[in-house]
């Protein structure tokens, strides 16, 4: 299960991601991030309440990053918990994403 909410903080559109980003919920995550990117030029995914992520969830984040690049928007991923960060690190996501320990806002 995944819960997605959106808010604005200091000029950033922040998508709060809660729960699990897996093969079943990844499409929902990608849609929410894409929808935010359609309306805002600075989007951050706050993963502070994300308990679990698999390659399907990573793919959703990568697709959002690609969409952001395509429209010259800023996209950041923030507040990763230790287990989620481990999956990002194992996947080499640091090479392709702007990852912040704190929210950029």
């Amino acid at each position: 299960m995944i819960q997605l909410t959106q808010e604005t903080r200091s000029g950033w559109c922040v998508v709060n991601v809660r729960g699990r980003a897996d093969g079943e919920t990844a499409d929902e995550l990608e849609s929410a991030l894409r929808a935010a990117l359609e309306q805002h030029s600075k989007v951050a995914a706050d993963l502070g309440a994300l308990d679990y992520i698999s390659s399907a969830g990573l793919r959703a984040v990568l697709q959002a990053a690609r969409a952001a690049e395509g429209k010259n928007a800023e996209f950041a991923v923030c507040a990763l918990s230790a287990p989620v960060k481990k999956v990002f690190d194992m996947s080499g996501m640091r090479h392709v994403l702007r990852i912040h320990g704190e929210l950029p806002c």
Partner: protein, 149 residues
């Protein structure tokens, strides 16, 4: 320690669990719940649970999305057993004969636009698990692996 097949069939061993999954992604919830239950019953920590769940999910989504298991009843069987040197997992699917361990490694240092999504799941399985082995057993693809703990 090497895994011998007969051990799996000994119901007297209480450190073992087994479950069957249907060939649809909605089963990921049950996969997660079964893994959590096994880890709780054996006082294994959150990190072990996360890793087992992740490795099993990656294999399962491959089976359903690419391996011909979509819509198949009783498509996948998972066995977990706790031994002295870790959790042994046996993952079997009834899909097309395919050894996921032969998949090429993804290019992790590629730039965003060159980055392909393929191969990442199996890469994660390799990072987390040890002693990975594949064999075709009758109608089953069978992968055995160990999560040290």
């Amino acid at each position: 320690m090497k895994l011998h097949a007969p051990v799996w069939h000994n119901q007297a061993i209480l450190t073992e669990t087994e479950f069957v999954l249907q060939g649809r992604l909605g089963e990921l919830k049950r996969l997660a719940a079964e893994t959590a239950k096994f880890c709780r019953e054996h006082s294994l920590g959150d990190e072990v649970e996360f890793d087992l769940n992740l490795a099993l999910e990656e294999l399962f989504t491959n089976s359903v999305s690419h391996g011909g298991c979509a819509g198949m009843e009783n498509a996948v069987q998972v066995r977990l057993q706790l031994l002295e040197d870790g959790v042994y997992a046996e993952y079997s699917d009834r899909g097309r004969p395919f050894d996921p361990l032969t998949a090429p490694e993804p290019h992790l240092d590629a730039r965003l636009e060159e980055r392909s999504a393929g191969g990442l799941g199996v890469h994660l399985v390799r990072q987390i698990m040890r002693d990975l082995e594949y064999r075709r057993a009758g109608d089953w693809n069978r992968i055995t692996m160990r999560r040290p703990c």
